[in-house]
C-alpha cells in the first residue's frame, strides 16, 4: 500500500494548492527532430499518401471523459484533441459540484490537473515518482503506470475528505465510495518489455 501513501501525500499537496503547475513550459524551445535509430525493414506496405484518416476515438487521462463528461457529448469529445478539451472543463466541474456534491474549489483543483486532457510526464523528475497526475507535484514524473489504481485515485479525489471535508462521502481509499477494493490486476505484469501480461487463451 506504499503507493496509496504516496497518493495521499500528493493529493494533500493539491489540497494545499501547492505546486500546481500548468502543463506548458515557459521557455520557448526550438522544435527538434529526434533521430530515428530503430531498424528499418524494407518492405512495401502499400503506403498510400493520399489516404485521409478521420479521428474516431481519443483518450488522454483516464476518468475525464468517462466519468465527468456528459454522455450526450462523448461523441464530440472523441473527436477533439487536447488543445480543444478546455471547452469541456465546465462539464467536469459541474460533475464534481453537482453530481458529487463537492465544493467549487475542489472542482477547480481537479480541472487544473486534468486539462488539457493528456497524460503529462515531467521528464526532469525522478522516474521513481512516476504515477498518474504526480507531475502536478513539485517532484513528480507523472505519466500513468500499469499498476496505478486510477479508480481509487479518482474516487478518492472526487468523493473523499482528503481535498475537502465539505460534502465528502468517505475517508481516502475507504468504503463506501472511495475505493472499489480491487487494487491490482488479475495477473502480474512483466518486469520487461512489453510489460503487459500474456493474454488469456
Amino acid at each position: 500500500m506504499r503507493w496509496k501513501n504516496e497518493y495521499r501525500a500528493w493529493l494533500a499537496a493539491l489540497a494545499l494548492g501547492a505546486a500546481l503547475i500548468g502543463c506548458g513550459d515557459s521557455t520557448d524551445r526550438a522544435s527538434q527532430s529526434p533521430s530515428i535509430t530503430g531498424p528499418s525493414i524494407s518492405e512495401d506496405d502499400d503506403a498510400d499518401d493520399a489516404t485521409v484518416y478521420d479521428q474516431v476515438d481519443f483518450l488522454g487521462n483516464p476518468l475525464v471523459s468517462e466519468v465527468t463528461i456528459m454522455k450526450v457529448n462523448h461523441a464530440r469529445y472523441n473527436l477533439t484533441q487536447p488543445y480543444n478539451t478546455a471547452e469541456f472543463l465546465p462539464q467536469t466541474a459541474a460533475f464534481v459540484t453537482n453530481v458529487a456534491g463537492r465544493p467549487a474549489a475542489l472542482a477547480a483543483t481537479l480541472g487544473s490537473v486534468l486539462y488539457p486532457d493528456m497524460l503529462v510526464v515531467d521528464a526532469s523528475k525522478p522516474t521513481a515518482t512516476a504515477g498518474w497526475l504526480s507531475w502536478a507535484l513539485a517532484n513528480g514524473w507523472g505519466g500513468r503506470k500499469l499498476t496505478d489504481d486510477v479508480v481509487d485515485i479518482g474516487l478518492t479525489a472526487i468523493f473523499s475528505t482528503l481535498l475537502s471535508p465539505t460534502g465528502a462521502s468517505c475517508a481516502p481509499f475507504t468504503l463506501p465510495l472511495c475505493t472499489d477494493n480491487v487494487g491490482s490486476n488479475d495477473v502480474a505484469f512483466s518486469a520487461t518489455f512489453p510489460y503487459l501480461a500474456t493474454p488469456h487463451l
Binding site: C23, D25, R29, S31, P34, I36, T37, G38, I41, E43, D45, D46, D48, D49, T51, V52, Y53, D54, Q55, V56, D57, F58, S65, E66, V67, M70, K71, H74, A75, N78, Q81, Y83, F95, N98, V99, G101, M118, L119, V120, V121, D122, G143, R144, L146, V150, V151, S169, C170, L175, P176, L177, N181, V182, N185, T192, F193, P194, A197, P199, H200
Partner: protein, 249 residues
C-alpha cells in the same frame, strides 16, 4: 451507511437525466477507458481506445507508451483477434512537448494482413503532416516493422510490440453498476438490473470484472530523449492516443 445515501440522492437523478455514461455495450472500462461510449465505437470495437499509459521503462533513460484498444470482448481465441488494417484504420500515439497541447510528434501504427497473419509497421516518433483530428500517413522510412505478437526493434533504440495481451485495467464494475444502476450496459451479463447498493464491496468480496479479459495492445519503448523537446534539458511532455478511420471506408 447514511453518507452513501446522501451521495446517491445527488447522483442518481442526474444520471437519470442522462448526464453520464450509459449504454455500455459490453460494460467494460468504466473509469479508465474510453470505452464503447458512442454508437460508432460500439459498432466498431477496433476503433475503441481503452487505455493509454506512459511510464518509465525497466532500463533507465527509456520510456514506455501503451495504447490499449478493444477487440470484441472475448477472453480467448487469439487467431480471431485482429487490428484494423491500414486501408481502414490508423492507430496513433501523439506527443506534445512544447506545452501547447498540440502534437509535435506522432507514432503512427498500421497493420496489414488477416487475423492470425498480421504485420505491424511503426513510423515515428516523427513530426506529423497535420495537427488535429484529420491525419495522413507520414510515409518515408519505416521505424520498425514485422509480425504482430513479437517483440520487434532494438532494445537500445525503439522497441515495438502489437498483439493481444491481458487487459491491464482492473475495477469492480459489477458493484459499480449496483451503486450507479443507470450506467449499466444495455446488453450482456451486466445489463440485468442490479440490486441497488450504496457502497463498494469489502475486500474478499470485490471482484475484478476484467479478470481473464484481453485487449489488443500496442506497446512502444524508446529513449526518453526522443520524446522531449530538448534532450539536454528534459522537460514536460503530454501523451494521448487516437484511432482514425480511412475516409470513405
Amino acid at each position: 451507511m447514511k453518507k452513501p445515501n446522501l451521495t446517491r440522492r445527488r447522483v442518481v437523478p442526474i444520471l437519470v437525466a442522462g448526464a453520464l455514461i450509459g449504454g455500455l455495450a459490453a460494460g467494460r472500462h468504466l473509469f479508465a477507458s474510453d470505452h464503447q461510449d458512442t454508437p460508432e465505437v460500439e459498432l466498431s470495437p477496433r476503433f475503441d481506445v481503452n487505455d493509454v499509459y506512459a511510464f518509465p521503462a525497466a532500463t533507465p533513460g527509456r520510456t514506455v507508451l501503451v495504447l490499449g484498444t478493444s477487440s470484441p470482448l472475448t477472453p480467448a481465441a487469439t487467431p480471431s483477434f485482429a487490428f484494423g488494417t491500414k486501408d481502414r484504420e490508423l492507430y496513433q500515439i501523439k506527443v506534445d512537448n512544447t506545452g501547447d497541447a498540440r502534437e509535435d510528434l506522432v507514432f503512427q501504427v498500421t497493420f496489414t494482413g488477416v487475423a492470425g497473419h498480421q504485420r505491424v509497421t511503426l513510423h515515428g516518433p516523427v513530426k506529423p503532416r497535420q495537427v488535429g483530428v484529420t491525419s495522413s500517413l507520414v510515409g518515408g522510412r519505416k521505424t520498425v516493422s514485422g509480425p504482430v505478437n513479437q517483440v520487434l526493434g532494438s532494445a537500445n533504440g525503439i522497441q515495438l510490440f502489437a498483439g493481444p495481451r491481458d487487459d491491464p485495467f482492473f475495477i469492480d464494475l459489477e458493484q459499480f453498476f449496483r451503486i450507479l444502476p443507470d450506467r449499466r450496459p444495455s446488453t450482456g451479463p451486466l445489463s440485468v438490473p442490479p440490486t441497488p447498493a450504496g457502497s463498494f464491496r469489502a475486500p474478499g468480496s470485490a471482484v475484478d470484472f476484467l479478470t481473464g479479459i484481453n485487449d489488443m495492445a500496442i506497446v512502444i519503448e524508446l529513449p526518453t530523449s526522443m520524446l522531449v523537446a530538448d534532450p539536454s534539458h528534459p522537460g514536460k511532455f503530454g501523451v494521448w492516443g487516437t484511432t482514425s478511420r480511412a475516409r470513405g471506408t
